[in-house]
């Protein structure tokens, strides 16, 4: 490199002096020894860091322990007879309960989804957030999501089972569960609708579409992934629910073949098995199926929420 360089104004120098980056020693880099020394000087920080790490390890260990223990106890007990079509006290088959669960869950969603999605559409697309009516609806939804499942159960019993005289039946169970999942689906749908940018609505209006057309053709498809993941979460909630169904859906071990028949769901089946205490292995096996079912459902919700989500 020449010592005297002709200065070309407005032009980059063709060659910059080469610097070996690896030889630069950053003054803010800490080695492990530095870190340890710093922590030894500050006992408060060290204790806190250790506690934080410990808590994380405890949480992780708890999850792993519960899941692995259940699998270890349950998997060897997963026998073909547990999935026989007919229940009897020898095979304690969970097949009728699984089918009852799916039937109840699907029917619950069929009723709950339109109501909560429509309500969410009203809350997001039609009403101003300062509206008193909207505030009341929001408060109602929050209260509804806080009510313990046993209170839903006792309400379902006095209202659906006795007052409407449906008896212990699928129908009573379905309507009780509808009340439970309404706020869940509404909240996720609201979030999904709010995530759709306003430019979509403006564009649609500008092209001459009416409000209704905008909602059903533009906004709902854009928000679909969020809505579906909310629906799947609700499905998981129904599958895992026990307390609200004991005194509404009833405890018949048979397959419910109609809306007015009583039938137990899988979690209820497991409760009775566990309480009898005679079928320890079978109870663990039922627990495995229950956990797997809920985990698959929740995983699907997350998958749908993440993978199908469009970035705007």
């Amino acid at each position: 490199m020449e010592n005297t360089q002709v200065l070309n104004i407005g032009q980059e120098p063709e060659k910059q002096p080469e610097v070996d980056i690896s030889k630069i020693i950053p003054i803010n880099r800490q080695t492990l020894a530095d870190k340890v020394r710093a922590y030894l000087n500050k006992p408060f920080s060290m204790v806190l860091m250790i506690l934080v790490l410990l808590a994380a390890v405890v949480t992780a260990a708890t999850v792993i322990f519960i899941v692995v223990y259940t699998l270890v106890q349950g998997l060897p007990n997963l026998k073909g007879s547990l999935f026989a079509w007919e229940y009897n006290s020898d095979n304690v088959s969970m097949m009728p309960a699984i089918i009852n669960t799916l039937f109840l869950a699907v029917m619950t969603l069929v009723i709950a989804v339109p109501i909560s999605v429509f309500a969410a559409i009203f809350m997001v697309e039609y009403a101003k957030s300062t509206n008193i009516f909207v505030k009341i609806v929001r408060m109602a939804a929050e209260t509804l999501s806080g009510i313990p499942s046993i209170v839903f159960g006792i309400f379902g019993m006095i209202f659906f089972v006795e007052l409407l005289d449906w008896g212990y039946s699928m129908l009573a169970g379905i309507f009780t569960m509808v009340l439970m999942v309404l706020p869940l689906i509404m909240r996720t749908t609201e979030e999904a609708l709010l995530a759709v940018p306003d430019s979509f609505r403006e564009g649609s209006f500008a092209l001459g579409a009416g409000k209704l057309r905008t909602i059903f053709v533009i906004i709902l498809p854009s928000a679909m992934s969020g809505i579906i993941s909310g629906i799947i979460l609700a499905l998981g909630r129904v599958v895992g629910e026990t307390a609200a169904l004991i005194y509404t859906g009833g405890s018949s071990r048979k397959l419910a073949t109609g809306f007015m028949q009583s039938g137990e769901t899988l979690s209820l089946h497991m409760y009775f098995l566990a309480n009898e205490g005679l079928h320890v292995g079978e109870s663990w096996a039922t627990a495995v199926i229950l956990i797997l079912l809920v985990l698959i459902i929740n995983g699907a919700a997350e998958f749908v929420g993440n993978k199908l989500k469009k970035e705007y």
Binding site: K42, A119, A141, A243, A274
Partner: protein
Amino acid sequence: MTEETMQGEQAVKRQIKVDPKELSMKIVFIIAAVVFIAAVVIICVFIFVQAFPALREIGLFNFLFSSEWNPDINDTGHGEYGIAAMIVGSCYITAGALIVGVPIGFLTAIFMARYCPKPLYKVMKPMTNILAGIPSIVYGYFGVRVIVPFIRDNIGGYGFSILSASIVLGIMILPTIISVSENAIRAVPKSYYEGAVALGATKERAILRTEVPAAKSGIVTSIILGLGRVIGETMAVVMLCGNQVQFPDSLLDGVRTMTANIVLELGYTSYGSVHRGALIATAAVLFVFILIITLLVSLIRKKAK
């Protein structure tokens, strides 16, 4: 939807006639929203109206402050219905679960928000989600088969106790506390942390003294949400708490909670009996607890804004 879009839309509305289809669908949407209000009102009215005759017979004071619970199955008027011991039982187990769950959950939330390297986070987050997804009946069974024998063999008592219920419920509220607190800590502007570190604070001091106070409302909300979940929890509790109606002397004694009381006895009651009414009144008390909690959460949220 922003105000601007609203205004533009109203201007358009004035010029075009309202399509009957649009109007009818709007009414459908409103009705769907009304369903929510109707549901809450109906549940409230039914629980309280059905509880009222029994409460009048028992006396509200007796019901809340007597600990004699001797239900009269045949409804001949000789039953004693006092849920004081169950309210105390619910409180003990709630406190126990919070003592187990809050410190671990809070510290794990700090870990997730500020310590966890990204690859580890991708494992930790689904794990806490798994914890949230496990049905309460499975927690209950796990407690009965693992925690209860462990306590019976190593600490003493029958095992079905406040302690075992608290441990299991503490685990159950972990995901709620972790995720809500973590979001609250993440929402604190990065500059708080940077400022504290620039002034010479260690990472831990910066987190605990600047970020945590800033995220206080979210963390308190997470604890109250966990509290609501514990008070309302039924299936896991009924399998673990021992279900004796008594004031406990130690952590190893069994208690009965309000939720357990309802589940255990509702099946034996007949329509219109005082016993049934007393159980519905128990649900009403539970309902009032939850209403207070919901109110608290919304108050905190409003204050935080």
